[in-house]
């Protein structure tokens, strides 16, 4: 009995050590890789050219930005058109893109693993995220809004005192709402859900008193019994993101967006998707 107990302990310790080594090992390797590679080569772009297709992470559940039409099974939207423009620039053909649906929680890991080259998915720019990924200058600005039930009596941020607010997991919304609530002197609590539709379900079920999210996103969830408050807060700036070490691709995306803004092409796309303010 004593012996087996000792064995178990050894096994346990071995497991913990293995865990640690795994984590540490990952750290060491990547650091070395980064050091050996010259900083900004065209490697990142050459890889895409060799592959012949640009792998892009996009939203599939945000109307007008990236939305999979259940009838046609095609993903369409403003951000998809942006991705096409990048593909055209690199590969000369706007259809050479491979779209992967992402949610807030999966886009980081997908970029890190190289599963996607580029993420254009209503990705809000923050300093914290900039530390980990390359993020372009914003291509769209969208304030956070509140979706509430019409019969709830909530008409402004002030009315949200003591209320519970549904926000999507992995979005920057929570912080924005918290700051605005502090400023308005109201106390709110949060419930985070993995998907947008679950946030809406929570609002319908009365689990949450409001669903806070980027306004363009909320428009897709408005129905007869709900409305969006006139109060808008915390403008969210969307940028495209690449892995930190794929500087070449980042520079190209940044340049392409800049050119599109100058040439008026960006405006044309915004008008096409009815996003012009």
């Amino acid at each position: 009995m004593n012996l087996s107990r000792k064995k178990m302990l050894t096994l346990g310790l071995a497991l913990i050590t293995a865990f640690g080594l795994f984590a540490a090992g990952c750290g060491g390797d990547t650091k070395k890789d980064a050091a050996q590679k010259p900083a900004a080569t065209n490697d990142g772009i050459q890889k895409i050219k060799d592959r012949g297709v640009l792998k892009v992470g996009c939203k599939v559940d945000v109307p007008k930005f990236g939305f999979k039409d259940p009838k046609t099974n095609k993903i369409e939207g403003f951000e998809i058109d942006l991705a096409k423009a990048i593909a055209k620039k690199i590969l000369g053909d706007e259809n050479k893109i491979d779209l992967t649906g992402v949610v807030a929680k999966t886009r980081g890991p997908l970029l890190d693993s190289g599963e996607i080259d580029l993420c254009i998915a209503t990705f809000t720019i923050t300093d914290e995220r900039k530390q980990t990924y390359n993020m372009t200058t914003p291509y769209y600005e969208d304030p956070v809004g509140f979706l509430v039930k019409k019969d709830s009596g909530i008409k402004s941020i002030k009315d949200l005192n003591g209320k519970n607010i549904a926000v999507p997991q992995g979005a920057t919304t929570r912080k924005g709402v918290q700051d605005a609530a502090d400023k308005a002197g109201v106390k709110v609590t949060f419930s985070e859900f993995p998907t947008y539709s679950e946030c809406k379900t929570a609002l319908s079920a009365g689990r949450a008193d409001a669903y806070a999210m980027d306004t363009s996103n909320l428009l897709g969830y408005i129905d007869d019994s709900t409305e969006i408050l006139p109060d808008k807060i915390a403008p969210q700036f969307y940028g495209a993101a690449t892995k930190k070490d794929n500087k070449a691709l980042f520079d190209l995306v940044e340049k392409t967006f800049e050119d599109m803004k100058k040439s008026g092409e960006m405006d044309k796309l915004l008008t096409k998707w009815n996003l012009k303010k």
């Binding site: 087996s4 914290e128 980990t132 079920a205």
Partner: protein, 224 residues
């Protein structure tokens, strides 16, 4: 360097925000304890009902076990959280966690208890009855004490499953360990350290219990 999911600054951020994970762990432990009590109670009640002479009680046992064993816990929890409010029943998340997971695990425990009792030779019950014991006395003083040795390891095993299953609360904003890990890492994308530490914490909760199972199996005279 920043592409490394386990970069040092991400670990530092985690240790700065350790309170969040401690809060999550507390909720997980609280839910697990209440759920375990619910599961044990239901498991014993329905387990005994499963071997009862009364046919209706045996049917009740089957309905309970077959319903909860054959539908996913996720659906049960989502139903309790999102659907019941439409029927004007709003259960707090803690109650959903402890009751929902407790009732679910109770079905498994009922099967463990039932098969444990059935493993005791029928002659034991008959001997008790012939000595003037009532059915309940025979159960209480003869059968259950013997069955206990067979049942306990499996019960503890279900307890381990129960602890891990509390992570479904993450889907309904339950504030448990998994939810906090999702929330924190979703915000800053430091998912590497977040999930390693969370996995390790679950492991630390479950490992002593599995060790206890081994110990029970060893000390039980009846070996499978």
């Amino acid at each position: 360097m920043a592409t490394n999911p386990f970069a040092e600054y991400k670990w530092q951020a985690l240790f700065t925000d350790w309170r969040l994970f401690a809060d999550g762990l507390t909720v997980t432990i609280e839910v697990a304890i209440v759920a375990l009590l619910v599961a044990l109670l239901l498991g014993i009640l329905f387990g005994v009902a499963g071997v009862f002479p009364n046919k209706n009680l045996r049917i009740l046992n089957r309905v309970y076990v077959e319903f909860f064993q054959n539908t996913p816990l996720v659906i049960q929890v989502i139903f309790l959280y999102h659907a019941l409010p439409h029927l004007k029943i709003v259960l707090p998340v803690f109650a959903i966690g402890s009751l929902g997971i407790g009732i679910y695990t109770g079905a498994y425990m009922a099967e463990v208890v039932r098969s444990g009792i059935l493993a005791i030779p029928r002659g034991q019950l008959e001997a008790g009855l012939s000595q003037g014991f009532t059915y309940f006395q025979a159960m209480r003083y003869l059968i259950l004490p013997q069955a206990k040795k067979i049942i306990l390891p499996s019960i503890a095993n279900q307890g381990v499953n129960l602890i891990k299953n509390t992570s479904v609360l993450a889907m309904i904003a339950g504030g448990d360990l998994m939810y906090q890990a999702d929330s924190w890492s979703g915000m800053n994308m430091y998912y590497g350290p977040a999930y390693i530490v969370t996995g390790l914490l679950y492991w630390l909760l479950c490992f002593p219990l599995t060790k206890y199972v081994k110990h029970l199996e060893g000390s039980s005279e009846v070996r499978p």
